[in-house]
Amino acid sequence: MPVRRALLFLAGVLMSVQDFTMMIVKSFRYLIFHFRMRESLFEMDRLGVGSIPIVFLANLFAGLDMALQFSVVMAPYGASNLLGRVVATSIIRDMGPVLASLVMSARVTAGITSELGMMATTQQIEALLVMGVDPVDRLIAPKILAGMVMLPALSVVGDLLGVLAGLMVAQLGAHVPAPLYWSGVRSALTLPNLVNGMLKPFVFGFILVAIGCFYGLRTTGGAQGVGRATTKAVVSAAIWILIANFMISKFLIDIWGWKL
């Protein structure tokens, strides 16, 4: 019996991987061959523009905190002059994209899963199919594009806010002159850092939307099922974002070497 259960579990996992892959392949095919401009712009506004306040707030406080912590660690070594470079590097390479994605997963992934889950449990998804419209075409592909476009955009502006917040702490708390801080920030704007800062949110945007869509479409079991699917989606998205973050960091370090 345990063997049978294990085999059934494995079969279930394989089926899920297959369904997820199919959904993604179809989404990209629709994005290329049946692009929906109106729906894509609508989703960009909803997912991206709607997330501006929380992403900015998160980056602002992350910048403040990081500058504060680094100034405490660096001051005894007389390295406060490097504060701008350290804060900018950490925000651009890691904290900015990861923080923006995690905050957005709470809003966007949860929103997408509950929306699609509700549609699935009230037969609206089935209604789309019956009307000859593929839900992946109408609902999923525009959302995935919106995630991949809007998260990098939000992340860039969020990074800037984080660096500005760091400046505030550097000037008022660590007494680092603004020109010195800015020269550090400028020296952090290297190609490896910028590639890091753009590639990560692009991938994370894809992850948080694709996972939300996948769990949403598979929702069963009424309101309770929607709640369960939403929780699973948000947790999965957060874990996959952290895994992807490590893998991209490793991949880019392997390419660029240990250059900053």
């Binding site: 509700m118 549609m119 009230t122 037969q123 609206q124 089935e126 209604a127 199919l129 019956v130 009307m131 000859g132 419209v133 593929d134 109408r138």
Partner: protein
């Protein structure tokens, strides 16, 4: 014409349809009756191609549904209207947008033409004044009417499928929905399948009747043939309803 040949459907080890045969002639309405959970809705899903039988085949106008590719299925469904149990209206769209949806997706009609047709369809179901209302503002009966209007949006629906279209409605509203279904059939001469457990409504809309019990078809025929059936289940069903 819709034909099911030895169709078997199973969810895991639970057999929902067990080798059933069914034929709905072109332009006729077949009503499928049976207890809740007897597999009635599963038949509709097989016809729509959203569920694939374990064995057997489903034919719609000589087209084998199970052999269609995803793209072919989407095209095939464009000539099909389906009314779901609770309407399944898109709750983020107004009534007008729900009815216009098919036209936006599958035609290149101008906005004026779409609106003209939407108004005509809503007028047909008696809900022209609800054009800008949201589905959540409508009663159960009104939602079914909108669902029927939406299903009719296809220029010439060859098949109309109704899943418990009168469940949960009061007798007056049920009758008006049945009358509307009859009008739709007269208008489009479509081939219809209606799933219900209400015999009164079944007699109002059906030409042919099929009883399902324990995943099998136990009787098919006209009203007279059904009423004269000696099957104890059917006799009980009829007597309980009357």
């Amino acid at each position: 014409m819709i034909r099911l040949e030895k169709v078997t459907v199973a969810y895991g080890e639970q057999v929902v349809l067990d080798g059933i045969d069914l034929e709905v002639p072109t332009g006729k309405t077949m009503v499928i009756l049976g207890e809740s959970g007897s597999g009635k809705t599963t038949i509709l899903k097989c016809v729509l191609g959203t569920l694939h039988p374990v064995s057997g085949r489903v034919l719609a106008n000589d087209l084998e549904v199970g052999k269609l590719t995803d793209e072919e299925l989407l095209r095939f469904r464009q000539r099909m209207g389906m009314v779901f149990q609770e309407g399944a209206l898109f709750d983020s769209m107004t009534v007008g947008e729900n009815v216009a949806f098919w036209l936006w997706e599958h035609t290149t009609l101008s906005d004026d033409k779409v609106e003209e047709r939407v108004r005509m369809l809503l007028q047909f179901v008696g809900l022209e004044s609800s054009l800008d209302q949201m589905p959540s503002d409508l009663s159960g009966g009104m939602r079914r009417r909108v669902a029927i209007a939406r299903a009719m949006a296809a220029e010439d629906p060859a098949f109309m499928l109704y899943d418990e279209p009168t469940t949960g409605l009061d007798p007056f509203t049920s009758k008006s929905i049945c009358d509307l279904m009859r009008r739709v059939q007269r208008e489009f001469k479509s081939t219809n399948i209606v799933v219900t457990h209400d015999l009164t409504d079944a007699y109002r809309v059906g030409d042919l009747f099929t009883f399902i019990k324990d995943a099998k078809v136990i009787a098919t025929g006209t009203r007279q043939e059904i009423e004269h059936s000696s099957d104890p289940f059917i006799q009980t069903f009829i007597s309980l309803d009357s």
